[in-house]
């Protein structure tokens, strides 16, 4: 079984977590976004063969949602961190494996 590092609790089996899909910021305000962008947000997933930033939820643990930078070819996780309002706060509070 794969393991994943929760930024709060540390390394745990992936069975403790729920996968939340690739990071997909909501375009705002929703009523003014172009149709194409809105459709992309709602229905189109990039599904990259490579590095993806994705959401995970520590369901059996502390209950936080966090972001994971994972290479989907190798399952190597470069970093995990909690979302921060300024979008660039990856460094703070993150565990680097």
């Amino acid at each position: 079984m794969l393991r994943l590092e929760c930024p709060n609790c540390g390394v745990r089996n992936t069975s403790e977590f729920r996968y939340g899909g690739e990071q997909n910021p909501r375009p705002t305000p929703s009523t003014e976004v172009a149709d194409a962008d809105w459709i992309r947000y709602l229905y189109e997933r990039r599904n990259v063969m490579g590095v993806q930033i994705e959401w995970w939820y520590h369901r059996a643990g502390c209950g936080i949602w966090f972001l994971v930078e994972r290479d989907r070819r190798s399952n190597i996780v470069a970093r995990t961190w909690r979302w921060q309002p300024d979008g660039a706060a990856a460094a703070e509070g993150s565990h680097s494996p």
Binding site: N8, C9, G10, R12, N13, S15, E16, R59, A60, G61, C62, G63, I64, G93
Partner: protein, 227 residues
């Protein structure tokens, strides 16, 4: 008017294990004994025993200022995530940077609650009494880590999970807070999980511990162990 009584979610399953039930001053119905104190103590000292501590007070303190509030109200701020700070009979366990679990005896609950609420003032901190929302079980004995390793995937080796540490993790497919709080020199754990799962959890732990010689332990024997 009859005096309200309070029940643990495991009451039904204690009865099937032959419990003698008494009511505490606070109204909780608790299992005073099961197979008899000597049998229960032997299991705790030589194998593993499972007791019910559900009446213990459980208060959740949430907010970025939780540290400051707890430090001011209870005399010691929380330690790192996964660590327990003990102030008298009060145990402060940090679950997240912004969230702490405060555990205490049933008798101390009102005083701790009052201290926290009075100190809070205008701090943006949420204090919630979740005493009724969680069962609290006690696993005591040298085989307790072994029993837990049958229902939980984390490492219970003393080198990585020692007395005074805590983990929120999956136990028997449910979310639990596991706190190592040794008792009378024996390895011991508190298990706190959703109240509605109490009966399931009790039965699952007893089943998992059968080959280890697990016994249900009453409040009487637990008091004896605590000395």
């Amino acid at each position: 008017m009859t005096i309200p009584f309070l029940t643990s979610p495991a009451e039904g399953v204690w009865l099937s294990h032959g419990a003698t039930i008494v009511q505490t001053a606070a109204g909780w119905r608790v299992p005073e004994s099961f197979a008899g104190e000597s049998t229960e103590l032997r299991a705790a000292r030589e194998a593993v025993a499972l007791g019910d501590d559900t009446p213990r007070g459980k208060i959740r303190v949430q907010g970025d200022e939780a540290d400051a509030l707890i430090g001011a109200a209870l005399g010691a701020p929380p330690a790192a995530v996964g660590r327990v700070v003990r102030v008298g009979t009060v145990e402060i366990t940090r679950l997240r940077m912004d969230l702490c679990h405060v555990g205490m005896t049933a008798e101390d609950r009102e005083a701790v609650w009052a201290a926290l609420c009075e100190t809070r003032g205008a701090l943006p901190v949420t204090i919630t009494d979740v005493t009724h929302g969680r069962f609290e079980f006690r696993l005591v004995g040298p085989a307790a880590p072994l029993l837990l390793s049958k229902v939980c995937g984390i490492d219970f080796h003393a080198s990585v999970f020692a007395d005074g540490q805590a983990r929120e993790t999956s136990v028997a497919k449910t979310r639990q807070l596991v706190i190592r709080a040794d008792l009378g020199g024996l390895p011991a754990y508190r298990l706190l999980g959703g109240r509605a799962l109490g009966a399931y959890m009790w039965e699952t732990l007893m089943e998992a511990g059968r080959d280890l010689g697990v016994e249900a332990i009453g409040t009487g024997a637990l008091l004896t162990l605590a000395g």
